[in-house]
């Protein structure tokens, strides 16, 4: 400061500052609004292209079990089942594995192991999904076929690949949630004579529940929206497998894979085209439902905690 400015800067400087503020404020505003506008446009476009399908295709066909676009049969059921099967399988694998890994890293592993594991897991998150799909195709599928499935390209193969894709998200977010649990809780449990495992399972994990739920939801979100790897390893047969454990070991086709595989060859504006967008709407609704469910679960938890901190 070369010049003393007792209370406010000299007039020109103040004016300049005022303009600077105004420009920054507007820039931030535009950036923020543009995101909202673009999301709105995407949603609008999705609806415009997808909604006609619900008028062009009879509802009974849409809810039916046969997806044969050439014969004008657009049953979404097998695709929905395919997505749910692959995702459910992925969750069944990824949630226990991810949670246990997070617990190991956060609560049990000595410091030096943690320092190796953490970056490794973050690296796993950085592997492009297509590479994982490739590995699934070349390595995993033959193994599964050898194990007795009629083909290696099954829902289960997709589940494993998806599980490993969502694991880094689940592990690192859960680990963050666990390490945010105050040490006092652990001390309290240990001082009563709880073993380390009892302390983790009965106190630390429940205390981190809301963070773990978010972690799992984020993982599911990643799994259900994933396309390419799943397209490569699930066999892409749009049929509804018979109920039972065997259904995981049959080829399926997911909603995302259907859009990716068929969008290139449909005529713009055709019924098939509209139906593919309708699948997009369905995916959107599912993801939205998962997110708001997660939001609600976390919201009630957070509220309870806040009200207690008087």
């Amino acid at each position: 400061m070369e010049q003393t400015a007792p209370f406010i800067g000299s007039r020109p400087a103040a004016e300049q500052r005022h303009w600077g503020e105004w420009i920054i404020e507007k820039l931030i505003q535009v950036a923020g609004l543009s995101t909202i506008v673009i999301i709105g446009l995407i949603f609008f476009f999705l609806l415009r292209e997808g909604l006609p399908a619900f008028f062009e295709v009879p509802l009974r066909t849409l809810l039916g079990g046969r997806w044969y676009p050439i014969e004008n049969l657009f049953g979404l059921w097998p695709l929905l089942v395919g997505s749910l099967l692959v995702t459910a399988g992925a969750i069944l694998i990824a949630v226990p594995l991810g949670l246990i890994t997070a617990i190991y890293m956060g609560e049990i592993a000595p410091r030096w192991q943690r320092e190796i594991l953490k970056p490794l897991i973050e690296m796993l998150a950085g592997i492009p999904s297509i590479v994982l799909g490739f590995l699934g195709w070349v390595v995993l599928a033959p193994l599964i076929q050898q194990a007795g499935a009629s083909t290696g390209l099954t829902a289960f193969t997709g589940s494993i690949i998806l599980a490993y894709m969502s694991l880094p998200t689940i592990i690192s977010s859960s680990e963050d949630a666990l390490s945010a649990v105050p040490t006092e809780y652990r001390d309290g449990a240990l001082a009563i004579g709880a073993t380390q495992w009892q302390t983790i399972w009965r106190v630390v994990v429940p205390a981190a529940r809301s963070g773990i739920v978010i972690a799992i939801m984020l993982g599911i979100g990643r799994a259900i929206g994933e396309t390419m790897a799943v397209l490569m390893v699930t066999g892409n047969a749009a049929n509804v497998p018979a109920l039972g454990l065997g259904m995981f070991f049959q080829p399926v086709r997911t909603m995302t894979a259907t859009i990716a595989a068929e969008m290139g060859e449909v005529a713009n504006g055709s019924v098939h085209y509209h139906t593919l967008f309708a699948i997009g709407i369905l995916l959107f609704v599912i993801t939205f439902a998962i997110n708001s469910l997660a939001g609600r679960l976390v919201g009630t938890q957070g509220k309870r905690r806040r009200s207690s901190q008087l």
Binding site: P182, E184, Y185, D187, G188, A189, L190, A191, I192, G193, A194, T195, Q198, R202, V203, P206, A207, R304, R305, S307, S308, Q309, L310
Partner: protein, 251 residues
């Protein structure tokens, strides 16, 4: 009078740093023993070494003996979880689990085994009554423990500790986060608990030690300078260091 805990030539180290030097004292059964001294004098380290809460700190180790009913706490065949069931602990900041009032008290019994529902209900009720909290929470057993006020939370932690019927209760500045009214109610409670349990309390507050304890130990730089009946120690301190500390000239 019998000795519940006998400490013989006990030293404690954090790595190469010696936090406690060659302590010798007897903690009497069913009495309240207060440990006083300035911050960093080792009184908390000593307290936490009695139920081996320091074990988790890398490099921490003990020398000498601390005998609980004649059996060394640091003997290799001691099961730490079992030891802590006999020597419970209440911490400086109330640390109830983010669970219901009931589940907090039931935590210990559940960890120890699978109590029957009826027995558990009775145990929870008894523990809360003994911790002088029952009247305040009997209609809020299902509410989150975090909704109680700090004084109630601390008494809940005491209820949680006594629910497994320990023999000794260690209290690490249990009142430092509480207001004067809550402090007095916890002190009252301590006096009543001493009929059943042996209590060791670390406190910064010399009035509290003088008011509430039967025996007092004065720690200075990791050494036990003086240990005596509380009225003796405060009335006729033998060591000039004790005298200057309790009269407020040092510390």
């Amino acid at each position: 009078m019998s000795n519940k805990i006998e400490v013989r030539n006990f030293s404690f180290f954090y790595g190469s740093f010696q936090a406690l030097h060659d302590l010798n004292l007897d903690i009497q059964a069913n009495q309240i023993t207060a440990l006083i001294g300035p911050s960093g004098c080792g009184k908390s380290t000593f307290l936490r070494s009695l139920n081996r809460m320091n074990d988790a700190i890398p490099g921490a180790h003990a020398k000498g003996e601390a005998l609980l009913d004649g059996k060394n706490i640091y003997a290799p065949d001691v099961d730490v979880a079992e030891l802590r069931q006999r020597i419970g602990m209440v911490f400086q900041r109330p640390n109830p689990f983010p669970q219901s009032v009931y589940d907090n008290v039931a935590f210990g019994p559940r960890v120890l085994g699978k109590p029957k529902k009826g027995d558990l209900d009775q145990l929870v009720t008894e523990s809360l009554q003994n911790a002088a909290l029952w009247e305040e929470v009997k209609d809020r057993l299902r509410d989150s423990a975090l909704e109680l006020n700090p004084g109630q939370q601390q008494r809940l932690c005491i209820a949680r500790a006594i629910a497994i019927k320990p023999e000794v209760i260690l209290m690490d500045e249990p009142c430092s986060a509480l207001d004067p009214v809550a402090t007095l109610s916890v002190e009252d409670l301590m006096r009543r608990l001493a009929e059943t349990y042996t209590i060791v309390i670390v406190t910064h507050n010399m009035q509290q030690a003088a008011r509430a304890s039967h025996y007092t130990g004065f720690f200075w730089l990791g050494k036990l300078v003086e240990f005596n009946r509380t009225n003796e120690l405060f009335g006729r301190p033998k060591d000039p260091l004790t005298e200057s500390y309790i009269s407020g000239r040092r510390g």
